[in-house]
Subunit: 214 residues, 2 copies
Amino acid sequence: MDTQTPISGPHGGKRERTKVQNRDTILHAARHVFAELGYGATTVRDIIRATPLASGTFYNYFKSKEEVFQAIQDESALRIRPRLHEERARAETVEAFISGTFRTFFEFVLADQKSFHAMRRNTDILRVRMDTPEIIAGFEELREDIEAAIGKGVFPAMDADYLMAAIVGVAFELAERMLLRDDPNPVSTADFATALFLGGVRALPRISQPDKRC
Amino acid sequence: MDTQTPISGPHGGKRERTKVQNRDTILHAARHVFAELGYGATTVRDIIRATPLASGTFYNYFKSKEEVFQAIQDESALRIRPRLHEERARAETVEAFISGTFRTFFEFVLADQKSFHAMRRNTDILRVRMDTPEIIAGFEELREDIEAAIGKGVFPAMDADYLMAAIVGVAFELAERMLLRDDPNPVSTADFATALFLGGVRALPRISQPDKRC
DNA sequence: CGGAAAGTTGACGGAGCGTCACCGCATACT
DNA sequence: AGTATGCGGTGACGCTCCGTCAACTTTCCG
């Protein structure tokens, strides 16, 4: 007995195992293809071809390339969301709230560069941003954290929705610019954003020679 | 003579006239279809079908739906760019520079709502932003205007590239939020952004009840 | 008026799409 | 172990969209 243990248990079953394995195979291949061709140029067939599976099998797991992409994005969002939330929940000051958010985000983006680039980049001039359920939840969590901070008296009472949008806009746009630089520096990028949100343009770090790059 | 004036001049020629007319027909149809289906779901065939022209004719004018979309975007960009530039060139203070930029932008977006929405919205959760040559030129113009303002002593010496990115990020993200509201108000939205850039979070307009909408 | 050039047409081969009847293998039951 | 059951992988199929191009129509101009 127990020679090659085809345990029929609900989790050790062959069915279950190949199911997660197939899903993983597809996601892995998709990550590769998206990075290679960009989101826009990628076809479902490209992903399938990068896989030993048949086309029908793909559709057992995902409805479209959008859904695959979404699954990949959600994975990233799920990794960073708790970090951001904890950072902000701990914050006793505006400084800690803002700087913690930006620093965590830019550091994550740099580490997760590949996924972030695939997310924003596309063929040529078309940029794509997919706001998956997890990402939208992240935005709403930010808004709630702002509202909580207002409640705690850390922030003045203001339009939390607009502030959330402003933070998101700056975070994504600066992240992209940061990645274009020769030596991306999440700390100094976060410092820039933090100074802006704390004191406005006049509080921005002074520099003698603006960091000029195309 | 001069019954239906088939003037053969280089500009009154029938050839020339139908050329601009066809192009216009396609652009008009495309605007309609993009607004109807969203950018992602639209196919070249959809645009052709919304037109009395044959498929081959379409390709005499545009290579792809991307190119049509780009032409539409460029049109908007060409309308707003000079306004923004003049506003900023006139600015003698940081206030005027920032507030002029945001106010002009949000007012334009509201008026041009349809085009902007087609630009950002897409099927469900996928957002598309196409940075056409004209739009990129607009970003670079903003950076140059910032650098010029630094030169004039209006701005302190800072990372103009990052500031440009921050302004762009806030402008686009707030514009989208603004359009989601029941009664979009470009002035108060611009006031919010301006206060943020002038004095940071603590300078933001106070409100008793945050404007909560999903 | 007539020849040349420019522009339009739509049918065509090629590719991606999503489906579904088929079938092999893991699972469940005796 | 042997057998029945049905899950899920397979890939060919019908469909749509793609971009092209040879044939045709219209405009231009001498």
